[in-house]
Structure formats: structure tokens, C-alpha cells
Amino acid sequence: MTGLGATTPLGGDVPSTWAALLAGVSSVHTLDNTWAEDYGLTCDFAATLKTAAAAVLTRQEVRRADPSAQYALVAAREAWADAGLGPRPGGVVDPERLAVVMGSGIGGIQTMLDAWDTVRERGARRLMPLTVPMLMPNSASAQVGIDLGARAGAHATVSACASGAEALVLGARLIRAGFADVVVAGGAEAAIHPLTLGSFGKMQALSTRREAPETASRPYCVTRDGFVMGEGAGALVLESAEHAQARGARIWAWLVGAGSASDAYDVAPPDPSGQGQLRAMRQALAEAGPAAARVAHVNAHATATPAGDGIEARAIVDALAEALGSREAALQVPVSATKSMTGHLLGAAGAVESIFAVLALRDRLAPPTTNIVELDPAIECSVVRDSPRPLPAGPIAALNNAFGFGGHNMALVFDSA
């Protein structure tokens, strides 16, 4: 991995996001609108972008892209520049060896709903011609592919809240199978809207802690009551070892294991046995080879739903017990739930949290999990609370999980550079 880029509720780029994360900043706030009153929402708070995409992109780019694709462009350009790949499009990469995988959980929902309002209220003649290319779920992937000049394929992974992590799984496999030398992979989401807040609320998946929104996202806490919606994008430059070494690239970390498994259980809640999640972790750890035995940090999916956090925590301990050789060793590995500060970026979460895992390896610091009033005794993992925890020197690895409605389970293992 040679490049990182993000725009999140904590910051408009990777350095500002990471600094806020280590400082334990909450990005969750009451929304500056009347949606809750107008529509009877149980949740009137979310984690919105710190830096508006319109402040970074040109007016024409903003007009021609759904917000999700705008965020993807911001993140992908930062990752591209961070990797030192040269001027866009193309740079030093053979365009036919350059691919993009950009996932989204929900896609261009704001464009779609605005366009439906237009049709209903003013008739089809008033629709804008770019409506379909803006609302389609591959829109972010297409926009980034054009921007970077990627001709080896522009793919869109769609697996709800696992989309951004699935992009990395697919990206790693494209490189390993020889279809590309460089893949810009990540996820983007811009879905904070009364419809999604209302629907997630109806599933009782969202926190309703309206009196204290900044501490509402409480993974692993006994008082957790659901996730908090966020938005943003993350992108990572994956590069074959040969390509990166040939150009003398700075390497942030190695993506050594990518696992994917499906529950075949339910369209919403995860399989309570956690077997699907465990299979994804096992697969990633098996592919990681010797790095599996040095996993020293986990960035967990942990969205703060009452059921989900516990299922994952048990699966993490089981997976690490196998990889590290003992349950005792597994129970020592520091686990961070960074959604406590960013909120849940849905289809962008897996990409943004992979960036956090990579930075944790770089800086040897596991970020904190904030807002735990009382740790749920059912969580056996060694949860990093309140302030960052130092990680050991020498070669270490990190595990990142991302799971999505529909039973999509992704696990990624990163090895220190």
C-alpha cells in the first residue's frame, strides 16, 4: 500500500482525520435542519463531512457528480498524490495496468430522490440529462476511473457496510491474479437523508440518544443503542511489490490477507453464531501466512448495535486464538472501535478504517474507543479505551473487519512495512 486518501467527519484529509481520531474527537452532532420534526425521525444527529467536497472540487465537478462520487474523487486524489504517482490522469502508471475499485453501500441516493421530486412536482421535462450516470452505484467508480485514467477496469463493490472493504479484497485479488499493477480501491457514501435515517431507525439499528449526540456512538458499552450515521470516503493505492519497488515508492504497509465470506442467514442481522465473520477472518489470516502470528491490533467493525458488537468480539477472539496459538494471547490484542468518533460511514467505513489500521502500524498507536461509560462484560477483547495505546516495535500486523447487511463479511490483514 503506497497511498492513502480520505475525507471524513473528522477531517478533510488523512492527516487531519488521524490527528482527530488519536485525540478522541467526536464528529457527531445534531443536524442543522428540521427533519426530525418534519418527518417524525427518532434520530436527529449524524456525523457529516468536516470539509465540504464543494470546497475542494470545481463547480463543474460538483454539478456533474452525486455527493458520494464527489467524496470518492476527493479521497482518490489524495491517495494518488500521497503515492507519488505523478500528474493525473495516468502519471507514471501504464493506464492499461491501472484499475479502480470504488464501492458504495447505497450509491447516488440524494441524486435519485431529488430527481424523483423533480419528476413528481414539475414533470419529466425538468429532469437533468446526467441523472442516471449520477445516481448509479458505479458512479463513484466511473468518476474516479476517468479522473485517474484507469483502463484496466473500474469496478464497484456493493455489499452495504462492507463495500469499502470488499473493494480492497477485490483490488488485492486483481493484483495477485495479474490483472493490474496498481489499483486505487476504497469506498464512498453520502446517504444522510430523512429516508435513510427513518429506515435505519425503523430497524432499531440507529442510536436515538438525542440528548447527547456527541457520545451516542458507544461501541462495546453496556448502554450502546445503535450506530450513528456518517458519510465520507476512503481510498488506498494498492500496488504490486514489483511495481512499487521498481519505482522506489514509499510503502505504508502490506496488504497480506484478504478474506470474504457470506452468512447466507438474513438480509439484515448477522448470523448470531458469528461463523461467517470467523470464516472471513480465518481466510484473511491464512492468506497472510507468517504475518498472521504477529497480529497486534484489530480495528473492529463494531458499529455499537446491541447484538452486533458481541458477535464480532467473540469471532475476533476465536480467529486470533487460532492465529496466535492461544486464547490468552488473543485476549491481549488491542481492539479499537473507531466508529465511536467517526460514526458509521457505511460503504466507506471499511476503506477509512483500513487506513486507520495502516496508520496504527505506521505510528505504533492503536486509536481509542471513546464513549464507553461501562464496558460490556460480555466483550472479552482488550478494548483500547479513552486514549491511544502504544503498539510494539518490530514487525507487527493488524486486522480490519467490515460487515454488511445481507451477511457480507470482509476481513483484511495488513503487515507493517
Binding site: T58, R63, M128, P129
Partner: protein, 82 residues
């Protein structure tokens, strides 16, 4: 409501600049949408849709192909609003 040609030109120029990112002074009456301003058919439809909205006129699809230059569009809108 009748529109003055000058007002229509200014309003249309604003839409074109907004859509394309062209410099303000690049948009003049004699410029061809496709050859000079390099506006493709979807961008042209976007401009037409926004112009219909702004000036309260209808520009039928089969009239759009006859709007070669910016001045052609100004004339059409002034005529349609007369």
C-alpha cells in the same frame, strides 16, 4: 413574459459558464456550441433544461439541433417569450 435580448444573453452565458467552467469572456454570440465551446449533446441538454427553467420557455428537442450558436439560442428564447 417578453425578455430583452441582452438579458437573455447574460443569463444564458451564466448557465454556460456554470456548466462548462469556460471563462466568462469566452462565451460570445457568434460562438458555436459544439465547435467553439466543445459542448457535447448531454451538456447541451443540461443547458437547454436550465435555460427553459430560467426563462420560462419551452425549447422542443427538435429545435435544439438548430441552435448552432449562442446567438441562435438567444434569438429562439426571445422569440419564444415574445
Amino acid at each position: 413574459m417578453a425578455h430583452e435580448a441582452n438579458d437573455v444573453f447574460d443569463g444564458l452565458k451564466e448557465i454556460i459558464v456554470d456548466e462548462t467552467g469556460l471563462a466568462d469572456d469566452a462565451v460570445t454570440g457568434e460562438k458555436s456550441f459544439s465547435d467553439d465551446l466543445l459542448i457535447d449533446s448531454l451538456s447541451m441538454m443540461t443547458i437547454v433544461t436550465l435555460a427553459e427553467d430560467k426563462f420560462g420557455v419551452e425549447i422542443p428537442d427538435d429545435a435544439v439541433k438548430d441552435l448552432a450558436t449562442v446567438q441562435d439560442a438567444v434569438d429562439f428564447i426571445v422569440g419564444a417569450s415574445a
